[in-house]
Subunit: 340 residues, 2 copies
């Protein structure tokens, strides 16, 4: 009964020809009606074809469509690791943005090894992606121009290189907001867990810190500024040197939430209290930090906006436009007025 329709080849797969045969039209017509890029036709033929396709359980063979169309409607993103919540948020946002625009997002990780970005890009490129979003840019490695040379469309996200197309947060502003918040609370000796020097977003936040201090007429003791990795361990290490200072800074701005968590842990283990002994501000507002026993003051980054911006630049084929998204300070319990 249900089979008398499927008396074309017994191949298993329902193709556009099966739909065409059952609906009594040509494959061209079916193809046109089912083309999601065209405006949705609404005549009786179209309705019949769509209904037949649904009944037969037709699903387009993407490989065949991609081959013919010469495009895969798939975009790749390269991140250091997805277990970093920031990167998971960015990718989830990007995947949602892609879905809204009829694209599909795939992801590859570099496990934080700088050289692995080439392997990751190759693996995505082999999958036939139409373009790449990189969240791994390092100031000491000009991978972007390699991609340019190879003619691969790409956009940088979160971290820029100063000339490639990029969708970034305003890190200078964010660093300024965080630092200014601490200054407003009366702090004068404000230390900085500065992040790695190879990442432009860390550098931007550092710059914002210096700008805020300078505007307030506050000198910055170089020993207050501790470089670090982006990780929890990085924050834990960096804060050790800060705690040894005499006089000890009364506040710390950490380049991201991970380093803030690491710092928090060491500070509390040293018997000091946050915020009464030391105020602390993080960056990114990952979901975790609002749930800590002392909820972290931090700077919220609009990852949805950054991801959507990256996608737009990619689809527009831009090679040099910069999109800058504005961050917001989220005051919570780890920052308090100096001397209570």
């Amino acid at each position: 009964m249900a089979n008398d329709q499927a008396d074309r080849k017994t191949t298993g797969r329902v193709t556009i020809l099966d739909v065409a045969a059952v609906a009594g039209v040509s494959k061209s017509t079916v193809s046109r009606i089912l083309d999601e890029r065209l405006p949705r036709a609404s005549n009786s033929t179209a309705d019949r074809v769509r209904q037949v396709a649904a009944e037969l359980g037709y699903v387009r063979d993407v490989s065949a469509a991609n081959l013919r169309r010469g495009t895969s409607l798939t975009l790749g993103m390269i991140v250091p690791r997805l277990t970093d919540t920031v990167m998971a948020m960015l990718y989830e946002s990007f995947a949602r943005a892609c879905a809204r625009r009829g694209r599909f997002a795939i992801v590859a990780t570099t496990d934080d090894r700088p050289e692995a970005v080439r392997a990751a890009a190759d693996s995505l490129f082999n999958r036939g992606v139409d373009g790449l979003v990189l969240a791994t840019t390092r100031t000491d490695d000009d991978f972007a121009s390699e991609l340019s040379d190879r003619g691969i469309p790409f956009v940088l996200a979160l971290r820029g290189d100063g000339h490639s197309a990029a969708s970034l947060g305003d890190d200078d502003l964010g660093g300024w907001l965080a630092t200014r918040h601490l200054i407003d609370l009366g702090h004068r000796q404000i230390a900085l867990i500065a992040g790695p020097e190879h990442a432009s977003n860390a550098l931007g936040r550092v710059q914002g810190y210096h700008r805020a201090m300078a505007e307030a007429g506050l000198p910055v003791d170089p020993s207050w500024v501790a470089p670090s990795a982006f990780s929890i361990e990085g924050g834990a290490e960096a804060v050790q040197s800060i705690l040894k200072l005499d006089p000890r800074p009364t506040a710390i701005f950490a380049v991201n939430d991970n380093t803030a968590i690491g710092a928090m842990s060491v500070i509390q283990r040293a018997g000091l209290s946050i915020p009464s002994d030391i105020s602390l501000v993080g960056y990114n507002d990952i979901p975790l930090v609002s749930h800590l026993s002392t909820p972290l003051t931090t700077v919220r980054v609009p990852f949805d906006q950054i991801a959507a911006g990256a996608l737009e630049l990619l689809l527009a084929g831009s090679t040099n436009e910069q999109r800058i998204a504005t961050p917001t300070l989220i005051p919570r319990a780890t920052s308090a007025a100096l001397g209570r």
Copy 2:
């Protein structure tokens, strides 16, 4: 100069025919030599072809290859969300396992909405995946049999349904280990943040808890067992009722690290100390918890092994085999002997 090789069509893309022309062999020969599934031939023709391919910058068009081969060598995974570190770890492990076996992994998220799993599966299926790994199984939704009916190969991960192919952790053992650890430390009144009832892994850990208590001859007061979500908020909520009990339990086993973090936060905010007032054990050993100011005692789950197991079952085409991976207790600072 470099162009006199590329005097075939000026199409832009270098195809197998270009390689064949330059190397002076047929496209069939090139195809065979470049076929990664065949044992690597090592005669002079093969070497020449490979060299020419590299020089010309040939990369196989996956769409064309997939179309002809009838397989995409791509596998899909569906997880609730990647911002849950457990899921990010699972997916990263799965992607690595796929790379080892010459496959590629793509991922879709359901944002924890049970009905979204169908949309996620469709989106992956539309991308032509050869099979699916589901980490979203609910005991109250028989999505697995829908997939069976549609003839789509799939394997469950982390959470099983009792009959489908699945790669799981031994949650009963893990729950037993965690509870037994607390019993060994002298605790008798041990509360449980039980997780959601729709997740088989939570149920397994609950079962392990009851088994350990029963084996030790300890009664379980039903009020000690608080159902919860898997989230930080879930843990925070659940622990509130536990803290109100009189007598108050001296230890808590939380169904996962997130709920443990939520519980920890509430406990500390209530002015109680961990572990001197209350011992706490989590589950999963996400990277974060070893870096908390009081590092969390937890149960480590071998995600690499679970992901690799899921892939193997998928490739083997199993429809009912179960793989069970063994967890390990990781004692840290949140659990201590009763009365110090």
